[in-house]
């Protein structure tokens, strides 16, 4: 019974009915006013949760963004006679613009810089509200902001509540859809592992900018409602505390969790005494709550409820997690053959300080071949892979993928050429399931537009289902069929590496770079890996594998390049190369030939 999907849907339906019925049963203007206020704050909290929770960019200026939305709406309606609707749109647009402005440095600095930049921005906005008196009426604020009207009739308090509630619900649903789709995975990748994001073809700049703009626009819209609800706004409504209040709300509810914003907002209004009788100690309470949450419940109320729910399930004799529904096998994709990329590298040079990691390496890799790069530790193998997929720029030299010069291109654009990559230390998103991790790899290949994803339109739904099926298919293909729903962080190391191969495969690579896929695998797993790589190669994919396990290399590769201290020591067919005394010497650390020769 606990696992029926209808239980959840019924609960949501009851919740929605209760929300819409609220004005009919509130029996007090004050309660209705509070209800609307909850709705407005919830919008801000959802916007902030997107940016700070999911994307991991803590903002201390959402109070200021709320102010911008509110002031634009108020000034447009009161001083310029606009109607509410275009004024609110303008408020959203201008707030979104402000979001884009503060996003600019976030591309180049880390999250904590960004937090302080937002703090400085909030101060600037606070100052301007007072200083720019010609526009904002300074301390006296904007007075007499009219209610929205439609069809010639002005809204009452109940209509405003319904409007705000509708937008909240719509926003909540769209947010849920976005987070289910590629954006959610992309945002979490920005937060938890930028390297995974880049290797999956995600343009960090575009996705971050998107998160900022959406977050700011939602907050600006909340500002428009804030203005009409209060009818008077002054700079005092938007002190620095307001921004911190929203941060507390999100962290309390569960930062980076869909219900977090809602739970946090409601929790704050369920304990209204907190906001009145203890007004003077508000900041202290915020501080203590935040600190306690960071120490004891980093996932907030939603995390605590989820933990409680699991405990309850156990108490009822169910397994702690809902049973896994089998993947819909019907849409399992036929794995299609591709045309592999040919790689041609010339004169590649890279220095790190006084150490030359690659010393004018030239190398050609045939389309569709399995090519191994071997050599002792520190010989430059991983550096070479990092150059091919654009993580490092060479100091000199050229790398051509099918005649396209890629030196100087971004990682994302190289990934979009059809280059997939795995890492020596697996870079997965630990909180997401293996399936979701694999789906991240298709980020650049997804076609449904932002709007389609937000509305969960048929195309987005189809694409999502197909992708999930593909992800599970590829996870099965690499031998993780049993563990598709497990959190990636819970998988053993070797299996994480296999999950990375699935993530790379789902992007339909034409060139696959594998960095020590065999490290730490058992002998049976090794055999499976060999078979897996062969079957990938059978699709036509060019596979470049950096590997210490020479048996495996000899087994699956047609061609081997031996690197030693940044130069090519030997290349050719495995049998010939591994029989080469110079290679044995370098690899096994025998004395150099000159010294051992009789």
């Amino acid at each position: 019974m606990l696992d029926s999907p209808w239980l959840g849907r019924a609960a949501i339906l009851v919740l929605a009915v209760a929300i819409y019925a609220f004005p009919l049963i509130a029996h007090s203007d004050y309660r209705l006013y509070l209800g609307t206020q909850v709705g407005i704050y919830l919008l801000v909290a959802m916007g902030l949760n997107l940016l700070s929770g999911y994307t991991g960019q803590p903002s201390l200026c959402h109070g200021a963004l709320l102010a911008i939305g509110a002031y634009v709406t108020a000034i447009a309606t009161v001083d310029h006679g606009w109607s509410f609707w275009p004024a609110a749109l303008a408020g959203m647009a201008i707030t979104a613009g402000a979001g884009a402005l503060i996003a600019l440095p976030a591309f180049r600095v880390t999250a904590w810089y960004f937090a302080l930049i937002t703090l400085a921005f909030a101060e600037v906005v606070g100052g301007m509200l007072v200083e720019w008196g010609g526009l904002t009426h300074s301390f006296s604020g904007v007075v007499g902001i009219p209610m929205p009207s439609a069809f010639g009739r002005s809204f009452g308090a109940a209509q405003l509540f319904w409007l705000v509630a509708t937008i909240d619900i719509a926003c909540f649903i769209m947010m849920g859809n976005m987070m289910r789709g590629r954006f959610g995975r992309g945002f979490i990748a920005l937060r938890d592992n930028e390297i995974a994001a880049r290797a999956s073809g995600i343009s960090l700049v575009r996705l971050k900018m998107f998160a900022f703009v959406v977050s700011a626009a939602v907050t600006g819209l909340a500002g428009a409602f804030y203005a009409v609800q209060k009818t008077v706004i002054t700079p005092d409504d938007f002190t620095a505390d307001v921004s911190i209040f929203f941060l507390v709300v999100v962290v309390l509810g569960g930062s980076g969790r869909l219900w977090g914003a809602a739970l946090g907002t409601v929790a704050f209004f369920v304990v209204p005494e907190l906001l009145t009788s203890l007004q003077a100690w508000r900041l202290l309470i915020y501080g203590v709550v935040l600190l306690a949450l960071m120490l004891f419940a980093p996932h907030g109320l939603q995390g605590a409820i989820a933990a409680g729910w699991r405990a309850l399930r156990v108490a009822f004799g169910a397994s702690p997690r809902p049973p896994v529904r089998p993947a819909e096998a019907s849409s399992a994709p036929a794995v299609q053959p591709v045309q592999g990329i040919a790689v041609s590298i010339e004169g590649l040079l890279r220095r790190f300080g006084g150490v030359t990691a690659l010393d004018r390496v030239s190398l050609a890799i045939e389309s569709g071949s399995v090519h191994a790069i071997v050599g002792p530790n520190g010989s430059g193998k991983t550096t070479l892979l990092n150059m091919i997929c654009g993580f490092f720029r060479p100091d000199e030299g050229s790398i051509r993928l099918d005649d396209v010069e890629v030196v100087g291109r971004s990682t994302a654009s190289i990934a979009r050429l059809g280059v997939g990559r795995t890492f020596q230390t697996p870079k997965l998103l630990p909180e997401l399931s293996a399936t979701e991790n694999a789906m991240l790899g298709a980020f650049a290949a997804e076609r449904a537009s932002t709007v389609e994803v937000a509305l969960w339109a048929p195309r987005a739904r189809r694409e999502h289902a197909a992708l999930a099926a593909q992800a599970q298919h590829f996870l099965g293909f690499v031998g993780l069929g049993e563990r598709v729903h497990e959190q990636a962080g819970e998988l053993p190391h070797g299996q994480q590496r296999l999950a990375e191969i699935a993530r790379a495969l789902i992007g339909r690579p034409r060139l696959l770079l594998l960095d020590e896929p065999a490290a730490g695998l058992s002998l049976t797993e090794l055999d499976k890996l060999g078979a897996l790589i062969r079957s990938i190669a059978d699709l036509g994919v060019t596979v470049v594998i950096v590997e210490h396990h020479l048996e495996l290399v000899a087994d699956i590769c047609r061609h081997v390049t031996v690197l030693d201290r940044g130069t090519v020591l030997a290349e050719g067919a495995p049998d010939a190369v591994f029989a080469d005394p110079a290679v044995i010497a370098a690899y096994m650390g025998a004395r150099p030939l000159a010294e051992t020769a009789p």
Binding site: P58, V109, W112, L116, L119, V124, G127, M128
Partner: protein, 291 residues
Amino acid sequence: MDLDIIPNGLAAGSLYALIAVGFNILYRPTNVFNFAQGDLVMLGAMIGASALASGLPWLLALAAAAVFVGVIALLENAVAVAPVVRRSSVSHAWIISTLAYSLIIDNLVGHAWGPDPIRVDPPAPLSMTTFTVAGMRTSSYQIALIVGTAVMILLIERFYRTRSGKAVMAVAEDRDAALLRGIDPGRLSRWSFFLGGGFAAVAGLLASPVLYASTQLGPALLVKGFEAAAIGGVGNNRGALVAGWILGLAEALGGSVLSPGYQQASTFVLLLVILLIQPRGLFGQPEARNV
């Protein structure tokens, strides 16, 4: 143009630099940028001002404030930084936990002292009485503040040439390698919090004759100190000094043309532009990492 902006700007800039150096002291061994630093500075000002009001001599008041705030900062490390960083060294949970600590200090100090600023006289024989030198109106305290700041920062940089100082830099660069050489990063972090807190208090009390000691100053000082630290390159104390002066002069210049609200805005734009061009600040060292 009014030449007064030069001593005024340099004096204000010196204060920003002092706050920025406080940040850097904490940042070097921990990679934590303390969001409570502004409130530590403010707390130092309040304690120092009260100590002076109770008749303590300047130096003793300064020492009392430094020790008290140093202990408060140690406590911050114990409750808001060390446990959070231990759980996950990569996450930025410390942003929120140090911010939380700052809210707690801010609120408690606000209740203890109330909103009224306290006037603090400079230590004799220095005074705020102005006189004119080379066409600039200044005071002996202003001059002492500017010179004293530069001297203090150079002295701190000398400390980083000692073995303990080098150990702090070593921890900043490679924590594991430092561990393997017998360096205890936890101990250095505790010392750095204590000293960084003490330094914050010194900055706060030195600022008081100019700004008055006020419980309202925390957040503003946090932002100013951050701007100086970011422009100078986080972790770079000499950079912080120069950046503080640049900021102070730019503000004084802006203040003679613009009203304070716009002045904040123009500083903010300056910061954005610098970070866009030079994300590590004007004097920050590029990170030479061997991957």
